[in-house]
């Protein structure tokens, strides 16, 4: 089981787009993952307020959900997104990192179901939540 977690970590850390956004995998266990993404001016969606674009949050959510799937004890290999729905509860505070935690709450031979929550330093109300369905691949 330790190897799977290690493999998932290596895989996530090798993703060019995740590196480009400065994502850091802080926790990964059996079917759950936490990834942090630092604030960066290049991610701004509304220049008047400095709030980062929803699309950057989507990229973080998608990566984190994928990591949760790959770290699940029943997942034999890699994964791809089938469907992802994101709900934006509030604007993320400019200047703060965003932290996402995803949990793969059900997995079959072919499909993994995942939910995720994103917060900034104000952890009382989430910035966004996500739910998605992912493929279960036999290999990486």
């Amino acid at each position: 089981m330790v190897d799977k977690v290690k493999l998932a970590r290596q895989f996530i850390e090798a993703i060019p787009h995740a590196r480009e956004l400065g994502m850091v995998l802080t926790e990964i266990a059996e079917g759950t993952a936490t990834i942090e993404m630092p604030y960066d001016e290049k991610l701004i969606g509304d220049p008047r307020t400095g709030v980062i674009h929803g699309g950057a949050v989507s990229a973080l959510m998608d990566t984190c959900c994928g990591a949760a799937v790959m770290s699940h004890p029943s997942a034999p290999g890699g994964t791809a997104t089938i469907d992802l729905r994101i709900e934006y509860m509030r604007a993320a505070n400019p200047g703060q990192s965003i932290r996402t935690t995803a949990k793969c709450h059900h997995i079959t031979r072919n499909v993994a179901f995942v939910r995720a929550t994103a917060t900034d330093e104000d952890t009382d109300t989430p910035v966004a939540t996500a739910s998605g369905a992912f493929t279960v691949e036999k290999r990486f």
Binding site: H17, I44, P47, A56, S58, D83, I86, Y88
Partner: protein, 172 residues
């Protein structure tokens, strides 16, 4: 019967292109992903210009699912904003210079966005078009389709709901 003389074509094009360039260029995240827009009249087509930093699975390789989600969301939001601003652009009430200086019109806010991944995103340019299914005073629903090589073989599609910018007197 008197008829007003049509505006010279070059002026019409210039006005529309300036407004579009200002709107798209003002958003850092759109520049970061290198998404550009083509315009035919009021119809927009977005183009995601491929770069290695957009890769999600280096083994295939394939475009990151999050990039695809962001591309669809940007296309939906810019198209919605563009249609919302169109009457003001045509009436000359939008000043592209002011937008470039950061005096952006208030943008619609995403409420939710759902992405349907149909095919793996190949390591090359992608295109997308959005259609505003309904634009009310408070809420809008936008559908967006993206393709790479063949227009009729979509690689992703999405639907989003947006909160329209409210007139400031109406915020109470």
């Amino acid at each position: 019967m008197t008829r007003t003389k049509p505006e010279p074509m070059q002026e019409v094009k210039q006005r529309r292109d300036d407004a579009l360039r200002a709107l798209v260029g003002a958003v850092p995240f759109v520049r970061f992903l290198d998404i550009t827009f083509d315009r035919r009249g009021d119809e927009l087509t977005a183009q995601l210009n491929f770069d290695d930093k957009l890769i999600g699975n280096p083994f295939l390789p394939a475009i990151h699912g999050g990039v695809t989600a962001a591309f669809l969301e940007v296309t939906a939001a810019i198209t919605l904003c563009w249609e919302h601003l169109w009457p003001d652009i045509e009436a000359g009430r939008i000043d592209p210079e002011a937008i470039s200086k950061g005096e952006l019109p208030r943008l619609p806010k995403t409420i939710d966005f759902t992405v349907d991944y149909l095919r793996s995103g190949l390591p090359r340019d992608a295109y997308a078009r959005a259609s505003v299914s309904r634009a009310g005073r408070r809420y809008a629903s936008v559908h967006v389709e993206a393709w790479q090589d063949h227009k009729d073989k979509l690689y992703a599609q999405g639907t989003g709901h947006f909160l329209m910018p409210q007139p400031s007197s109406d915020t109470a």
